[in-house]
């Protein structure tokens, strides 16, 4: 199941390509190598989970794809065009929601369309559609502080979807939620993904979450962050976390992940460069 990245000369360009990305942070006592030679190719409509322990650079990788950070070396391209800044085609869902607290739910969702100059009536239709999709029509005129964590994260997802994004980047989006809300939102996310044909890159440290959601799990190792392997998850959907098949896959992925952690590498080694 280990899949090495080879150039297969596909006729169409892949949606997203990460090319030999390195990332080195400057620290007070030298430099820290966060990512080393990351390569991945993501096709339209895939649901990718990036799985790894804390400090393996998975969030940094996502932030580079989003354009919030620049790669020290290497590049990220969308349909063959290099990107180096945030753009509406790559919508980010943050763990801490990052909603605009001074805007109502409706205004948060139509923030993107309004700023891109879409005409008023279209914005209204769009907003209503995505409010309904995440089940928050009744809360359209509330402010974020009046909502629970789960509802805030639904708004954050709707905000990105309403902006007509191609790739949904999610940085441990359900990490701050309770278990019940988390599983409900996981289910809703899968529904949304299946109905919209979006491409999702989902960063998590939970093996169960990765196996539940992903078509493909990219396992990362720490110090410096590298891609260890890509594992295709062939379980049929909807997936049942209590089924023996699910547990077998989960055990495999866990073993793969922990085999690196038990090697006892310090998280974040000082690079010699």
């Amino acid at each position: 199941m280990l899949d090495t990245q080879t150039n297969r000369h596909l006729p169409a360009l892949p949606l997203l390509r990460v090319n030999a990305v390195h990332k080195v942070f400057d620290a007070s006592n030298g430099t820290i190598e966060a990512l080393r030679d990351i390569n991945m190719t993501i096709e339209k409509g895939e649901f990718i989970c990036v799985l790894g322990a804390s400090g393996c650079g998975k969030s940094t990788l996502l932030r580079i794809i989003a354009g919030f950070e620049k790669a020290t070396r290497g590049s990220v391209s969308v349909y063959g065009v290099d990107v180096d800044r945030p753009g509406p085609e790559r919508g980010m869902v943050f763990q801490d929601y990052a909603l605009f607290p001074w805007l109502t739910i409706r205004e948060n969702i139509n923030f993107g369309p309004r700023h891109r100059g879409i005409p008023g009536p279209d914005v209204a239709n769009l907003t209503d559609r995505f409010l309904a999709m995440v089940g928050l029509t009744a809360f359209a005129d509330r402010y974020p502080h009046q909502l629970s964590g789960g509802m805030k994260q639904r708004v954050a997802i709707a905000r990105v979807l309403a902006n007509d994004t191609d790739i949904l980047l999610m940085d441990e989006p359900f990490g701050a939620l309770d278990a019940l809300t988390r599983s409900k939102l996981q289910e809703e996310l899968i529904d949304i993904w299946q109905s919209t044909k979006l491409t999702v890159i989902f960063v998590t440290h939970s093996v169960e979450e990765a196996v539940l959601l992903a078509d493909q799990v990219i396992v990362m190792t720490a110090g410096p962050g590298r891609v260890d392997c890509q594992i295709k998850i062939d379980l049929p959907r909807p997936r049942d976390v209590s089924s023996p098949e699910f547990n077998a896959v989960r055990r495999d992925v866990t073993r793969r992940l922990t085999s690196h952690i038990s090697r006892n590498r310090p998280a974040g080694t000082i690079a010699d460069s």
Binding site: A66, G67, F68, R85, P86, G87, P88, R90, G91, M92, F94, D96, A98, L99, F100, P101, W102, L103, F111, G112, H115, R116, M133, V134, G135, L136, A138, F139, R142, Y143, P144, H145, Q146, L147, S148, G150, M151, R154, R159, V160, N163, K184, E187, E188, D191
Partner: protein
């Protein structure tokens, strides 16, 4: 044992009412709470009045009038008909002049302080250019500017407005800068990935996110403006509450001095309440910033 699931499952994706955290519970208790707050707030001023009365009687001083004498003076100052001197029924003109100068200076300070604060907070180059200079000028007491301001603007209201402006400017500027610097960087990232960048960020993110701090600065600035009006009206203007206090001092009319003090206190208080109302309206999205 069979487990029967009877709970009707709400339509998936539809949030249930319990999920909402309602921040304003029990509106019905409000009027009683309000009365209680007013009663509690009145205790200290009433005690102060009683203490004042008692001390005047006990010491037998002629220099300080009793609260009753001041109340009579205030009535005469407002409506006339008791002393019928130069100050009878002159409250409206003095009040109006002072309000004009206070808000003239205050609005100038806000009009320059807020945009400048947004720029200093957001643009590192402008920060490096201007912040050291402001840090140098800020410790200079406003009263020290008095002679210069009289030279710059002459004896008159412009000088008073300038001093009020100086007093209100720094709190507004510094709080705006602080507000801009403490905007959560995630919000900029969120705006940028939604397609809002460059100078559009000022209007869409910087200004609203800094608004709680800006209002803090405005309230502090308005407070300083009222403090400085007395200094400002020392510059030889004939009318104004500060001028009245200075006249009272010259004429040894302590009742006039205290009348002026009380009116400034009340007006400053009302002006602050108006700012609080505006604050609560514009920050209705953030109850933690309500005053």
């Amino acid at each position: 044992m069979s487990l029967q699931v009877t709970v009707a499952e709400p339509a998936r994706g539809v949030a249930t009412a319990q999920e909402v955290v309602d921040p304003i519970p029990a509106v019905a208790r409000a009027p009683r709470q309000r009365l209680r707050a007013i009663a509690l707030a009145a205790i200290a001023p009433v005690c102060l009045l009683l203490f004042w009365e008692a001390m005047v009687r006990w010491t037998g001083t002629r220099l300080i009038p009793t609260p009753r004498d001041v109340a009579i003076m205030m009535w005469d100052f407002a409506f006339g008909g008791i002393y019928d001197d130069a100050y009878s029924a002159s409250l409206p003109i003095h009040f109006w002049k002072s309000v004009q100068r206070v808000y003239g200076g205050f609005f100038c300070a806000a009009a320059i302080g807020i945009p400048l604060g947004l720029l200093i907070g957001r643009a590192p180059l402008i920060r490096k250019l201007l912040e050291p200079t402001f840090a140098l000028l800020r410790p200079i007491p406003v009263t020290a500017w008095l002679p210069l301001s009289m030279i710059f603007f002459g004896l008159g209201p412009k000088s008073a407005i300038f001093l009020v402006f100086l007093g209100a400017f720094y709190p507004i500027l510094l709080n705006t800068v602080f507000g801009v610097k403490s905007v959560d960087p995630r919000l900029f990232e969120a705006a940028e990935m939604l397609g809002c960048s460059g100078s559009k960020l000022f209007r869409a993110v910087v200004l609203p996110a800094a608004l709680p701090s800006i209002f803090n600065g405005l309230r502090l600035g308005a407070g300083f403006a009222w403090i400085l009006i007395v200094v400002g009206e020392m510059t030889g203007v004939p009318e104004g509450l500060g001028a009245v206090i200075m006249d009272g001092r010259t004429l040894s009319r302590t009742d006039l001095v205290i009348t002026g003090m009380i009116i400034i206190g009340i007006t400053g208080f009302i002006s602050d309440r108006i700012l609080v109302l505006l604050n609560n309206y514009f920050l209705r999205w953030s109850p933690q910033h309500h005053a």
